[in-house]
Subunit: 134 residues, 4 copies
């Protein structure tokens, strides 16, 4: 960490004002996280097989938008591990276009397993996962 | 206010875990806001024509996710005007499936006009708009 | 059959030209199909449980776009069962805004099961499913 | 021509079956076309400024899906100019993952200008544009 993920804004990512429709930034947050997993030899699929986890769903997310971006803009998404909780972890995201900060955001993800009733429950994040991601 | 917007979760809104991919909730926040405008006889198009505003872009957004939702779930999005600022306003969103709260979130939007250099700038939210939305 | 599905175009469905970004129409085709299943007491989930099918993936899809649509437009998607094949079926979609035809399209879906090697394979569409959908 | 565009399938592009939700392929068709424009020093924005065109909307699109793709798959989208019409052009798309063909598709786009009544109309594709794209 930190990890960088690149994206070029597509025409279809933009709204009538010609700027990125904001939910798309959260899609890129998720894509950057999956890219980080990929860079560590992991994926949601491999997490399931290796750790028996059902997934890493989001319990909180947010962003502060500082400047607009438009199609053809090359963006960098920098992802930082901000905090390891017991059963969760917080990722920070900064999106930039060269020297311009487009937005700052975050995700809090939990380590989700199947509870005894089959429903999603949380469990401690394995030390091995923490080491792989760090 | 408050205003309610209904949505049935589509298969395509869900990820491999069979639950709503979280950026989609922000798309529904925006859809609920546009639905509120529509209920008041407004739209982004009409705001431009009537108030000369270029749009109401988001400067901050966030959500706390409390329970998952899956396809075919009927959801209610309740939107509340939480605060009028000078050049901005904050909307609260609560998404429920019957008695279950799925998530709570918010958007801060600004009243965006064209600055003297042609770039987006903010301006005071017109009293007429506040009255129409209230 | 036929079955009708209603949608109001959202701001976020439109591109810079202020008209629906065309991939969204295919998302609505799929949503209309899932809505048809729902109207018959079915879903992808229930198809798996009841018929052991892994899904009904698309092998062909297409559309001819006749008129643009913009946000706040109320659209009707009419879905028709055009042909039952042995292991597939073809659905026709007509999207209208009042008397205006926006587009005509189709999907060919297959009845997908797990082959002996675990990969997706096709199997005959059960007569019971055909009766439920008809 | 042909032109190649690369994409890595994101987790959020996939449905419950863990495979790409098919409308996303059309989004990539559009992205590949915009990438071709970019490679030629063009964009929708520059087309408007240089040629007075309002856009290049799709009048027909389709695809035959040959194999599924899942997240983390690296895909290549090869775009070919299949035919110049008078007021339209047809683009072919082949999506592959290494030696596997995932799908073949196409788009027919028109050269759209503002008619005398302000509505979208078609006009001959300029020879200069054809030369730039070829």
């Amino acid at each position: 960490m930190p990890h960088r993920f690149s994206v070029i804004v597509a025409f279809g990512d933009c709204d009538e004002a010609g700027i990125v429709f904001y939910p798309t930034y959260f899609y890129w947050f998720d894509s950057a996280f999956q890219d980080l997993l990929r860079a560590r030899g992991l994926s949601q699929r491999k997490l399931r097989a290796r750790f028996g986890v059902r997934g890493t769903p989001i319990v909180e997310a947010g962003a502060t938008f500082r400047a607009p971006a438009t199609y053809d803009d090359p963006l960098q998404v920098e992802i930082t591990l901000e905090r390891w909780g017991d059963t969760s972890f917080r990722l920070g995201y900064r999106v930039t276009r060269e020297q311009t900060v487009i937005l700052d955001g975050f995700e809090v993800r939990v380590w989700a397993v199947s509870g005894s009733d089959g429903r999603l429950s949380t469990a401690p994040v394995p030390a091995e996962f923490k080491e792989l991601i760090a």
